[in-house]
Symmetry: C2
Subunit: 210 residues, 2 copies
């Protein structure tokens, strides 16, 4: 390609709008924020939702402690201010992922109501789904998948949510799920169905019919 | 769905592997890291690349100062340590986006070589493309799209890269582009072609033929 004649051309690109992006992707960007006690099933549920969505050709991604605490938030601990900064950053990254057109599933205890509300405030209405994984404390403690409750009861882990640190339950979550006695698939399907009925994506079969 | 008979079921989900995700999306996750002076054309180029990719049904997303400095990195200034932390966080977010299967285009001056290398180190080989937007300083200063060089020369902006703060040029970038006298489309097409030849995605027409 020949260089332009003028050296004073305006070096201007154009932006892809959210609408164009979503039209191409066949889905709407959103954040699905799982909150609940340790052992309540947040990460497990989020990962199964991710899998079901992918099978329906909906692009989703899970943010959780595994991929955040080791890198982006490696400089943060579990003091109240560090927890708030942790959740602030998660909220910002989730918003960016949603802006990119993904359904971003976040799985963090996120015990403080104001922190969760701040994450919600980054998104337009209808694009933030708070899912309260409302599994009772005694069930979470019985599961104790990482042996953390045992350590918390023994006093070797300080500031442990539900034992020695507070958890502020959501007031008006988009969805509340008690996972006790239910299968992962059953709970995950309920989340997916909620997203579908809110128009975040069309089921694959519907898309084919368009 | 009936609850499972056993109350002691293992509450286990499954993970979507990167391979499964990429198969579904028809593209590979990667980071394309644009680096260069203020006014070199990084953001403009990244946004046009994003647009061309989207037209080919490849999902891409631009991270730049506009969407990072206002939120995630709102707590950071332009001191050397803040610049390093800024780029560290950008690198982490870009890695997450690439892990989600996106082609993440980052447009930051990112003046320090060690910071860029740290971002590269988060990605597997072949998934990080350093694009040196090698527009000469005098051209950048002539463009001065935000009037920043004028202020830097007047001394009202301290630590301005290229004037009063260093810029360390890439040693072995995957691509180097001098945008002077070229159109945005021409430069952007060169980037897209580089990504295509490295197997990050199939052109739409190729995909249809599969």
């Amino acid at each position: 390609m020949k260089p332009p004649k003028s050296k004073n051309i305006t070096w201007q690109g154009s932006h892809v709008t959210r609408e164009e992006r979503e039209l191409h992707m066949g889905q709407k960007g959103a954040v699905v924020w799982f909150t609940g006690l340790s052992g309540s099933g947040k990460s497990t549920l989020a990962r199964r939702v991710e899998q079901i969505l992918l099978e329906q050709e909906v692009t989703a991604y899970v943010l959780d402690g595994d991929n955040l605490r080791h890198r982006l938030n490696a400089d943060l601990g579990f003091s109240p201010s560090d927890r708030t900064e942790n959740i602030r950053r998660v909220g910002c990254v989730a918003q960016l992922m949603a802006d990119a057109g993904l359904i971003c599933l976040t799985a963090f205890i996120s015990p403080y109501r104001t922190d969760r509300d701040a994450a919600r405030a980054l998104l337009d209405a209808g694009r933030f789904f708070e899912v309260f994984v409302d599994t009772p404390l005694d069930v979470c403690e019985r599961r104790d998948p990482k042996g953390l409750y045992k350590k918390a009861r023994a006093g070797t882990i300080p500031n442990f949510t539900g034992i020695s640190a507070p958890y502020e339950s959501p007031v008006n979550p988009e969805l509340a799920i008690n996972t006790d006695g239910r299968t992962v698939y059953d709970c995950a399907s309920e989340v997916v169905e909620t997203l579908r009925t809110h128009g975040l994506f069309f089921a694959a079969v519907e898309r084919l019919a368009v």
